[in-house]
Subunit: 436 residues, 2 copies
Amino acid sequence: MNSQPATPHVVIVGGGFGGLYAARSLRRAPVQVTLIDKRNFHLFQPLLYQVATGGLSPGNIASPLRAVLKRHRRTRVLLAEVTDIDLARRRVTLHHREEISYDCLIVASGADNDYFGHEEWRHTAPGLKTVEDAVEIRRRILTAFEAAEMETDLQRRRSWLTFVVVGSGATGVELAGALAEIAHYTLRRDFRAINPAEARILLVEGADRVLPAFPPSLSHEARKSLEKLGIEVRSRTKVLQVEPDGVTLETEGRQELIDAGTILWAAGITASPLGRLLVQGNTDLLDDKGRVIVEPDLTLPGHPEVFVIGDLANCSHRAAQPLPMLAPVAMQQGRYVARLIARRLQGKQAKPFHYRDKGTLATIGRAAAVGFFGKLHVSGYTAWLLWLFVHLMYLVEFENRLLVFFQWAWNYFTRNRGARLITGRWPQLPPGHQEK
Amino acid sequence: MNSQPATPHVVIVGGGFGGLYAARSLRRAPVQVTLIDKRNFHLFQPLLYQVATGGLSPGNIASPLRAVLKRHRRTRVLLAEVTDIDLARRRVTLHHREEISYDCLIVASGADNDYFGHEEWRHTAPGLKTVEDAVEIRRRILTAFEAAEMETDLQRRRSWLTFVVVGSGATGVELAGALAEIAHYTLRRDFRAINPAEARILLVEGADRVLPAFPPSLSHEARKSLEKLGIEVRSRTKVLQVEPDGVTLETEGRQELIDAGTILWAAGITASPLGRLLVQGNTDLLDDKGRVIVEPDLTLPGHPEVFVIGDLANCSHRAAQPLPMLAPVAMQQGRYVARLIARRLQGKQAKPFHYRDKGTLATIGRAAAVGFFGKLHVSGYTAWLLWLFVHLMYLVEFENRLLVFFQWAWNYFTRNRGARLITGRWPQLPPGHQEK
């Protein structure tokens, strides 16, 4: 395994949008490709919130990497974790101590939730990054309604029916919106002791408006849609404390304790720890989110054979702001790097990476979404249809497109969300009355 | 909650086929119904092996109990575990110590895997009873292929590619068949170092033939189909020892050690521990599988207000053999008890329970199944189509029927199994080479 292959060997770390698109675009290049990922599937993270809210099954938004790349004869997939990168010897070390040498390395290991120094909140307020996160959030949301149904103490019941979503980027807005739909429609006739529509859903945001990355007018539209769904939007609000039975918020100097049985974290993300390995102690090359500040051709400074793409890269050569941590950026970067490698092998130069911004969309709920395409803003039904279409098109496997489309159509007409199972981690049973 | 409701209160323990069909059939009866289950969904266990082998997602074969019963206004669902039953005071105690009183009790808490006194084998050789079991078995099967791909030692690679299924009832036969299809077709082009088709699959059976509950000629047909798929069938073989790296088998006095990375248990089931609570120490009322020996009207002897149905009941009043632990028996018993309760309230008598045997089917794989309907035997393509049709029809929700049908059709034409995710329990990464 350690011997140098006759053809150049490209090692890709990460099978997300960046890594997978790089691997697919290298199909016809005269290189050997090894794609390394900790998981055996590519996950379509933009729809993970629908798994967390019982609308889709994990299998519908995940595609086995081997299945996607099975026809790429010169591509090998390794289910392994990269534990070290030796830039001088051009080798990556895997979890079981195997070393893989490369001629060219593409690091696309993505990002994780950021708790801003409060790692102890991670367990209490799970974020939404993996299939396991989504199944766990689904378990907590559904168990909260079950616990409320069994609770006779009104204050505790109220607390079980209170949900706090921290962070109002696309993920937070989508989670809150889906939660409201569950409470108002999906569970409408499911309970006998409680009325799920009485659930209180708070969306907490530190900035002065929801969807801070969107133009202000669309933030305004989004807020109106959220409030129409009964969601309490708390902007300019900081989270001071997260505890199993609630959160302490601070809005413009005023503190408030919210009793809540379920707290979900969508407040920020931080780049994968592989960034630190790549810069070898030179933290000037990392930004505040732990992203590697790359050259205009997405290489690691001083290492033209190492590319950093996707959420792990800070790519800001053409603008004041680095490019956003979004799937389209990662996809385009993956394709760009693949083409650059192919050109290099032909002795040709490549232009710097240029991101073609095709627009940004976020959905709030049924028939409600916002989006902007340069100066063109859309909202409401049109934006929602666009959102549906774009997300279906980017799902990796055709089978999953059909499965997701069918379940969306079913949900649209029946309001049902068939995948609302309480599974996985124990306890699966809700706590009941304290005294008898 | 402890106050007696004005209308008679029927408490049903268990939301499997027996309990759910009883609840549904009580819809128009003048009673209050409380259905208690540890899980928030009804699970269609006959298709669980397809989740374990990546063909379906858990959500496709599970239906939220509240969703199924939402229009039953006088029916309440409780997500709780029954920890005690007080027959004298007519009360059940739940996990959080709440007590529920009943006028009429239907116990349908099903069965669990039986390790015949070797509880220590449970972790090494998981059985297939819950969604978590299926996800865990899926993880083990897929990880075994991944570990083989990374393994350079040929003997260890061979061991990773060896799968032992213990027990050749319908579940064992279906699991082995699906495993063979994965190895020969689904994963065909997925790996670079190994050829998945070299996987060795052993099906171990203590009796002298597979599917011992079927007529011998169909067992013969099934065995032929299994062998055509490359499965080694070991009949008249006992499992002496189960260890993480293999099993010790004994065939007619001859012992053999099989190195195997994956061992799956489908050898036997034992009734739920609630049976012991019901008979109050009178073990004469329990059979060797822990089932309660019931009266011809499915009541607990001496307690006409307590019914025991499904896998928990030994119902043998009309035959030498008790009725098999199968879904159709439980469904018919659930419906029968519901009707009996309604008749009693009208002051009418009810006939003893009579099982209408509509036939039994088992599938081996693509276009291969066996079945018998009284004296009529079917096998091959016809039996397989029948199997597909029957299983689709008995899925509880219409949405799931369509989702399953679509995925079966997709699998039929592409051999793909899109839900082959390695998720849940850690480690998710395969062990690699031992030395470097």
